[in-house]
Assembly symmetry: C2
Homo-oligomer: 241 residues x 2
Amino acid sequence: MRSSVGEAGVLPLKWSIVLHVTAVPEEQPAWRQRAVERSTRAAKLRAEQRVQRFLDAAQELIAEKRTTDFTVQEVVDRSKQSLRSFYQHFDGKHELLLALFEDALSKSAAEIRETAGSESDPLQALRLAVEMLFEQSLSNPGVERPLFSDFALQLLVKHPSQVATAHLPLLTVFTELVEQAEDAGAIPAGKPRRQASILMQTVMFVAQGNGVPAGSHAAAVSAEEVWQFCLGGLSGVPVRN
Amino acid sequence: MRSSVGEAGVLPLKWSIVLHVTAVPEEQPAWRQRAVERSTRAAKLRAEQRVQRFLDAAQELIAEKRTTDFTVQEVVDRSKQSLRSFYQHFDGKHELLLALFEDALSKSAAEIRETAGSESDPLQALRLAVEMLFEQSLSNPGVERPLFSDFALQLLVKHPSQVATAHLPLLTVFTELVEQAEDAGAIPAGKPRRQASILMQTVMFVAQGNGVPAGSHAAAVSAEEVWQFCLGGLSGVPVRN
DNA sequence: GTGAGATGAGAATGATATTCTCACCGACAT
DNA sequence: ATGTCGGTGAGAATATCATTCTCATCTCAC
């Protein structure tokens, strides 16, 4: 229905955007529905292309400036469209960023799923997944995903539920991996969804707080260490308590 | 040298602020130094009081509005001083927030240290500490620390090294607790500082992502669960790998 | 061809942070 | 006593953005 930054159009998309793009009253008779539908389809396509151009422009800017501090004007200029048009399609900069964010996480989830899927040992698969997530969540390497590090946190504060939604694809993947590991007896059975949730938080944010030279304190943690920690966490405490 | 929101004046302070307050050339003869010192001491005190009034005002506003979205003007008005003066003492709103943030974390660390210190069993002490940190990092309860949830993340993005500095007091406390637990043989020996670091990140951010009703997905994680996870992480994986 | 909705160009608004101007004051060295 | 100087208050002036508005134009389905 809506879009996707690159081409793999999946994810659940943003409501407001949908409302803008398809303003079709639901209570009309079916024939009218179809009529409007026919006469609108093209417009819808055009709209999606425009939206896409905005998204692409924003993506470029983020990649270049390594931050989400670009101005709406810049996006507009680069996409060779107009402010008028921008606000016609997005509720605001926030919606734009959210769309990109969801998209990035969704893609990341897909990558991880694929890579991990090619590993037969469930525990190794999980390990791979953790390491991938860790790398992608680092702030410094300046991958094409400053979204993870930058906007993510801002969002985490103002609209936590949207973050939850955006995390869903990743959470799903990790939940599956945890379940498989448990089924295989590699780790004791538990509540996979919650375990996956804690796991993700741990990996993502430990990576986060890592992109700091921080000369003095704050020992840089490696993917390996995080994995060990998480594995222990999932495996439970050996004896007491 | 600098300040503290309430009264317990501890923490390492902010450089820029110090530079503003004491602009004393170091290469003067000693007598002159002392002279200047004498003639400056009073001014320094006045300055600190002013700074303190800004900090107090900001703290009040945060408590009231439950957010860091207050305007500098509001702080100025409430503290009955002037914009001019504000910028004389702070590099900007950012510095003000940073000061409050450091202060909050510092106090939190003190509380945790004290509470945990009254527990003789090292493992229980660590557990207590984890639970306290978890509670204090929750977003919803609207405690008097929207700093943890709100500004903290913004900061995490733009000035990670300052976050590291701010985290230091907490990191120190947790490192001690981990060391004690290891010394007591409650958990296997490791690298206490790094372990404490991962531990903190996990606890704080899992708590973070928790303040969400999020009707559908995202199972709310409890302090207990986090503790179990972290304990496992610290204890290491029982057998394989 | 016509009319409704979409667009472009760019001005206007609104909210804030930050800087600047200028008059004043109070401590202090001489 | 007095002149200097840094700090201050009051508030105007700037600067930066996001967001909205105006109006002329364009496009497409009919």
